[in-house]
Structure formats: structure tokens, C-alpha cells
Symmetry: C2
Subunit: 500 residues, 2 copies
């Protein structure tokens, strides 16, 4: 059996290499590729993705899985061996149902759609993007039809990003969190004068912001000998291996923290990928495909840690040194401004409280789109109406509305809800970390982050893609994902800030 | 037959995509990859290169070539159709003789060797690089043994980079040029005081040098919407398609032109690749594999044009504006300093006259290495002795000696001689261009470069990989490569500068 597992790993190493090579082409495309490169890049990535698909679904892999899967129950479910088989089986099943030609079309179309989206966003021209987006939705419908998931085709997309997730499951969690969240948002809106957001504004140099972002992410434990921080329109993280994990950010020179908080967010993803067990190199366990687990890390570092008082007790004097304009602004005023909660248009700039409503909007809209209740051409109208209904705001243009995210252009549907699931879980992790490391808050206040990262590495990072969210939650916390600790955390923190 | 040619092109498109994807990984590795990425990058490139090899040598390709090659003489040899078959046949024959495992080993070893070379060069530590270099030479010996080229294994390497080239052929040309070249170098050495090289020295900002390099290359016709200029330890050019061609350069802040001249050199390669006929997209004709033709373009733009009086009549006032320290330095003094000829240690910084002797040294040393007359461990000693014998200089360290070039680390043996062959041919092209465009010198003096680029596009660039050097020389010039116009050009130009 051990021998067959080694054969399986060897057979899949080529697929993993091709997938990671495609990541390099993707990173280059989004960070620095000249415009003229689009067509060839689309063809090249389509070729790599199609070949990866073929290697993931090779006859040899199918045969080995047929032999190994029946013996899965003889293995410890938490063992690497069981993980290799379980994840290879999932990759195989997910892919073998989809014809290579369709995979190829999706890859090629999304490459072109990303270019079109960038242009449409810059020029606030949704109609120019619509034909490619429609084509992508059609292709994803065809893709979903390859799976046996009942009558809601959106379920196939949800399960793709998060093993075992369905519309019904997520809708139930969101139904739990939605009423108290709406209530909290309303209470905060009624106390807006408690926070002065202008405390974060001024002119803060591009290079200084990048340097400070680098300093902070490095102190948190992101390893620059095995990574890079670059600029991208929509910040993202991408691992070429655990020893070369690229993070990206963006700079707004009128805000002292937006670049930094993006960098910490992506740094969280980056550390997650950098600290995967080296035993998983070139295997299907190397790249954590659970979006919710991934987001638990980025949101933990960005929000639970990076917007906390203990964190800033250490970093605020350093921020003030880097940006002398901040010297006249008090710690309390800064802390409150950093955590300002206010309905706003752009998800990635949204605060911890209103963020959830951005996600619930996308989740419901995607579900309607894939069930034919909303047409692609009507997305701007639907988006704007729902923004008004949920957050009391109507986007002045599509660039700040339906065009704000890269995800749909990249063909990622069903991906958004995992952001909120991961955010909720990050708070559960933080509670457990405080139990396991009683002086963790004091350590953070004195700028020591080793124990924080060490805990996340031990509990989460090193496992890579071995466990899905329910499995890992049971292992680390002894129980499932729960929205209640998240709501408690929000109520306590924002109750204090807004004097509720 | 047309249908079979289309089948051949379709069959090879995947191989071309894989090759270009590997180029993207190579560019990233040399321009910006963090150190930690080396192992995974080596594995990924090895996988891509092995797969490209398999697709170039697929049974389908072999069968199509068996059917098409016998009918080659029914086609116009200058037609695209004939070119597609001829070049596919050469790629196939070159590759089918080499086992995929050996290709894989060479790719993997050279990835690691590039990292080791970078470190060894920085630390002046040849012994740390030697084991990987030895392994690469061994592997290239095994590679050469796969070909039927008579008793000199070096011939297989020469033919790989330049179709039809052999040691004997090149040795004959070099034998012709060597005596008058040595004579000219001696005459120049005796008149060193005619030129003051300090005219180029001072402090010239990094960003200003990069901006001026960009300005000049753009004016010459390098298209930045289909390319980028970045930094690299050893400048190089790499095409991901004709619509995304990356060039690189390096900056020495104490010299006003070294960054610029590197940029123009690579810009020459870049324009060559950018102007390949769009008809050749995703085919074997897209990427000119003749190093000599390639070098004729880089050397034409860098030297024949870029170090000429008419060129600088236009650009010198602009250089002086960008770098005010140059305002006190006369045109004549600048022109002479720019063309200073003096024996020196580093090939890429060598002048037009002594350059040939750097090449002849490498050509002879590689031939000795592959015929077992020189051992890898003895390369530093041999290098230094020959530098002394040819140019009267002994490198003070290996970083400025045997470690100066990336080529051997990349597994490129037999590549260097084509630099000199291309340099010679570039002068023949210039003579023909002057016949075809009688006022070309006046155009250059007034900063108009359209006709220059247009001529090169029409005569050389658009043909991509369709013709080898002898074929293209016959087509453009009506005759073969000749070293005499090159010697005449050098004697006239340097006779004037040095008052010989």
C-alpha cells in the first residue's frame, strides 16, 4: 500500500508542477505583464491547465485510486497517507467529470476576461466586459452540469472551493449571523460621531508605505527570502511552492493604513503557504485549497491581530516615526479610526462589521445568477439595488460596484462565502490561542509575534491541504464552525469603540 | 499537403506553448525570484522542458514529417510552408536523438547551476560552482554523443545554436579575422592617449539611467506595450510571444552609457522578436533560433548605429540634458570615449575591436573542454593564461574572469562564436542598408529611426526562424558571411578615432 501511495504521489508530481507553472504565468500577468501579452498568455495558460487536468486524471491515477480508496479505512484519517489518497480522489473526481476541452475554454476565456475587466473597471464600462462574463457564466453552468449535486447548480461551485459546502448549509449559517449583524450595523450607524476617520488621512508616500508594509509583515513572520511583495490592482497571494510565495498589495497615498492592512492580509495567506509541511512538496497536500481555512489566516492577521489594541501598542509609535504627520494624532483616535465601521461600497476596504453584508450580497446574487433569476446584463442594476437595501448605499459607478472584484473575471464563482466562513472561524482560533498561550496578549504588546505564528503553524499552516474546514475545526477546536463567538467578538469590540 | 502542414502546426503549438511558458519561469527566475524558489523552479522548468521535448518528438509529428519531407522540393524553399517543414524537421531530429531523461537532467542541473553561479560570482568562489559545471559539461557530452557529427563533440553544440556550423567552418573565419584584428588592437594600444575614457565617468543616477534607456530604446522602435525593461545581473532578452518580449539591462552609476548601451543591445534583440511575422504565432518559425542572426540585430543597434557619429549628433544634446554633468564635455571627446578600444576583462563591457578576441578565447576554450584537453577544475587557470596571451590582462579574481558570463551555468556551450559571426554580418547589413536608403545617415542625424527599423524588419525581423544565416545572407546580400567588410569598418572607424 505504501508503495502504491508513492506511485500516486509520483504520478501527480507532474500535474502539481504544471499547476504551479501556470501560477507563475498568472502572477506575471496580474503584476507586470505588458498589455500586448494577453493573447499568448491566454493560450499558454490554457495549455498548461489542460495538461495539468490530463495528468490529474491520467489512467494511472485512476487505477491507483481504485486500488487505494477501498483501503482508506485501514489508515488513520489524520495520517499523511490518508490525506494523500483522500485529496487525490477529490481532485480526480472533480476533474474527471469535466471534459478537457471545457477546462481549456474556461482557462482561455478567463484570461481574456481579466484583461477586459481591468479595462472595463478603469473606464467604468460594464457593457464592454459583459460578453466575456456571460460566456464565463455559461461555461461554469456547463461545468456545474458535469456534477451530480441536485437541482442547484451553484452547489457544484460552492463545493469546488470548499469541500462539502452547499447553498443550504451556508444559507443557514448566514441566516444565523445576519439579524444580529444588521442590528449591530444599525446601532453603529446611529453612533457615527464616536469615530473620526480623518485621523487616517493625509499624504503618505508610496515608497514609505511599501517599506512599512514590508517591515510589519516581516516582523509577523512572512519570510522575504521565500517570497516577494509587489503591487497589483486587486491584492492576492500565490504560492509557486512553499518556498516561493508571492504576496501583493496596493497603495493609496491619502490613507496611512490601507496598503499596510492589505499587506498584512496577504501576509497571512503568505505565511500559511510558506509554513506547509515540507513533506508535502510536489504533492496534492501542498497547497491548501480550503478558501475558508485560508481566509481564517488572512483575516486573523489583518483583523483579529492587526486591528487590535495590543498590536498597535507596539506598532503605533513605529508608524508615527515612519509618517511624522501621525505624531499629532492620539493612539485612541487612531485605533478607533482604524476600526471605523460604516457602510461602504468596496468589499476589500470594508470594515469587520459591514464586511459580512458584502459577502451575503454576493452569495445571494451568485445563487440567483446560477439559478437563472438574474441575468448577466442586469447585474449592475441588481448589485446597486441590493447595496442600497443591505448597506443603504448606491454605487455612483460600476467600477465601485459590480466591477470592483477580479473574482468573476477569473471565473471564480462560489468563492466569496468562504471569506465570511473563514472570518468567523478566525475568531474561534483566537479564543483557543488565548487559552493555549495565556500571555499572548502581553507578547503582542511587546512586539513578539513568534508564539502567535508558531501556534498557527502548528494548528493550521503545516497541514496544508490535508484537512477540510470541518475536519480541521474538530481537530483544533473540538467542534464545528460557529458564528456566535464572531458576533460576541464584534459586539464587545465595537460596543467599546462606539459606546453602545 | 496544405492540410498536413496545418496538422503539423497544430501538433507543435502545444510544444511551443510549453517552451514559452518555460521562458516565463526563466525570466522570473533571473529577474526577481526569491532565493528560496530555486528547487521548485528547477523541478517546474524540468517538467515543462521535458513535456515540450515530448510534444516536439510526438509520434504524430514524426509521421507527418515522414510524409511531408519527401515533398519539400515541390515547394518554394523561401515559402512559409517549406520553412515550417524544414524547421520542424530540424527541431525533431535534434530532439528525437536525445532521451527525455537527459533533457530533464540538463534542465534541472542548469537551474541549480544558475543559482550556484550567481552565488559563486558574488563571492568569487569558483570551486563552489565547479561541481555543477562539471556535471553540466558531462551531461552536454552525453547530449553531443546522441548526434552523428564526427569526432569533435563540440560540433554538435555549435550546430545546435547555429544550423550547419562546425568547428572547422568557424575556425576558418576566425583564422581570417584574427591576424588583422590583433594587428589593429596593437596599433590602438600604441595610441591610447588619443582617447580620454574619464569623459564617461561621474555619478549618474540609477533612475535617470533607466529612464534615458527607456527613452532611447522606445525612439528606436522597441514597443513597450509589448515588452518591458528590467534589471538582471547579465542582461538578456526573452520572447514569450512576439507581443510580449522582455529585455533587461544593468546599471553602473559611475558610467553614463553602460546601462544605455546594454539596453540598446537587448532592444535590438527585442525589436527582432517583436517584429516577427504574426503569421508565425505559435509555430516553430516564431522564435529566431539563429544566434548569429540575432546578434547581427543587437550589435547593429548597439554598435553600428548606437556608437556612430550620426546617432549621437541627435542624442548627445539629449544625454546632456538628462545628465547635466555632461554639459561641459565636448561631442568629440564623448564620441571617442564611447568608442574607446582597450583590452579589458569583461566581454559584455568590451569594445567593438577587442570583443572578437574575447569570443575567440571562449570558442577555443570550449573546443578544448569538449575534447578533453582542458578540465573544468583548470578553467580559471586556463582562462587567466589565455586572457594574458590574447589581451595582455590577467583577471584579479574569477568573478571578472571565468565566472563573468551566465552562459555555461545555463548549459549554453557553443553559443559564444555566433556573437562574433553576427557582429561581422551586422556590418554587411549596414552597407546594404546605405545602398537601399541613400539618405539613411541624414535621417539618423535628425533622430528619425523608422526607415532603419523598417529596413531591418523587412530584410530580417519578419522572417523569424524561417532562414538560417547562410540562407538569409544569400537572400538579403546575394552572398555569404564575410569578415572583410567588418575589418574594413573597424579600420576606418578606429583609424580615425586613434589617428592611425
Amino acid at each position: 500500500m505504501q508503495e502504491k501511495i508513492e506511485q500516486l504521489k509520483a504520478a501527480l508530481a507532474t500535474a502539481v508542477d504544471l499547476e504551479r507553472a501556470s501560477y507563475v504565468l498568472e502572477w506575471d500577468q496580474e503584476v507586470l505583464m505588458p498589455e500586448g501579452g494577453a493573447q499568448a498568455r491566454a493560450d499558454q495558460r490554457a495549455t498548461l491547465d489542460e495538461l495539468a487536468h490530463r495528468y490529474y486524471t491520467a489512467d494511472e491515477v485512476g487505477k491507483l485510486l481504485d486500488e487505494l480508496v477501498p483501503h482508506l479505512d485501514e489508515l488513520d484519517p489524520a495520517s499523511d497517507e490518508a490525506g494523500q489518497i483522500r485529496v487525490a480522489k477529490r481532485e480526480y473526481d472533480q476533474r474527471v467529470n469535466v471534459p478537457a476541452d471545457l477546462v481549456n475554454q474556461i482557462s482561455q476565456t478567463s484570461s481574456l476576461a481579466i484583461q477586459a475587466w481591468q479595462k472595463a473597471r478603469a473606464e467604468d464600462d460594464f457593457p464592454a466586459f459583459e460578453p466575456l462574463l456571460s460566456k464565463l457564466v455559461d461555461l461554469r453552468q456547463q461545468w456545474a452540469a458535469c456534477f451530480d449535486v441536485g437541482e442547484n447548480s451553484y452547489d457544484a461551485l460552492l463545493d469546488y472551493w470548499e469541500a462539502g459546502m452547499t447553498y443550504d448549509l451556508i444559507a443557514e449559517v448566514f441566516a444565523g449571523v445576519k439579524p444580529p449583524l444588521v442590528e449591530l450595523v444599525e446601532a453603529i450607524v446611529a453612533h457615527q460621531d464616536a469615530v473620526d476617520p480623518l485621523v487616517l488621512e493625509g499624504h503618505f508616500g508610496h515608497d514609505e508605505q511599501m517599506a512599512f508594509s514590508r517591515e510589519v509583515t516581516e516582523a509577523l513572520g512572512y519570510d522575504y527570502e521565500r517570497g516577494r511583495l509587489d503591487l497589483a490592482a486587486h491584492p492576492f497571494t500565490i504560492p509557486f511552492s512553499s518556498d516561493d510565495v508571492r504576496i501583493t498589495t496596493r497603495v493609496f497615498e491619502d490613507n496611512v493604513v490601507s496598503c499596510l492592512m492589505s499587506s498584512i492580509h496577504e501576509g497571512g495567506h503568505g505565511m500559511h503557504a510558506q509554513n506547509t509541511s515540507p513533506d508535502y512538496y510536489r504533492t496534492v497536500l501542498d497547497d491548501c485549497k480550503s478558501m475558508a481555512i485560508g481566509e481564517s489566516q488572512s483575516r486573523f492577521f489583518e483583523n483579529v491581530l492587526g486591528r487590535s489594541k495590543p498590536f498597535w501598542r507596539y506598532w503605533y509609535p513605529r508608524l508615527q516615526e515612519t509618517f511624522p504627520a501621525m505624531k499629532s494624532r492620539s493612539f485612541d483616535a487612531f485605533y478607533k479610526a482604524l476600526n471605523q465601521s460604516q457602510p461602504s461600497l468596496v468589499r476589500v476596504e470594508a470594515d469587520e462589521v459591514t464586511y459580512g453584508l458584502h459577502i451575503i450580497l454576493r452569495f445571494e446574487l451568485e445563487n440567483d445568477l446560477f439559478n437563472g433569476r438574474v441575468k448577466v446584463a442586469d447585474l449592475p442594476k441588481e448589485w446597486n439595488e441590493r447595496m442600497e437595501a443591505y448597506l443603504g448605499l448606491t454605487p455612483p459607478n460600476d467600477a465601485e460596484g459590480v466591477l470592483q472584484d477580479i473574482h468573476w473575471a477569473a471565473g471564480y464563482f462560489g468563492y466569496f462565502p468562504d471569506y465570511l466562513l473563514g472570518t468567523m472561524w478566525s475568531v474561534q482560533l483566537w479564543e483557543k490561542m488565548q487559552q493555549d498561550i495565556p500571555d499572548v496578549v502581553a507578547q503582542i504588546e511587546s512586539g513578539k509575534f513568534d508564539a502567535v505564528l508558531g501556534w498557527q503553524v502548528e494548528q493550521v499552516h503545516r497541514h496544508g491541504n490535508k484537512f477540510n474546514l470541518p475536519e480541521l475545526s474538530k481537530k483544533v477546536l473540538g467542534g464545528p464552525l460557529d458564528w456566535r463567538p464572531y458576533m460576541e467578538y464584534l459586539k464587545t469590540k465595537y460596543g467599546e469603540i462606539y459606546g453602545l
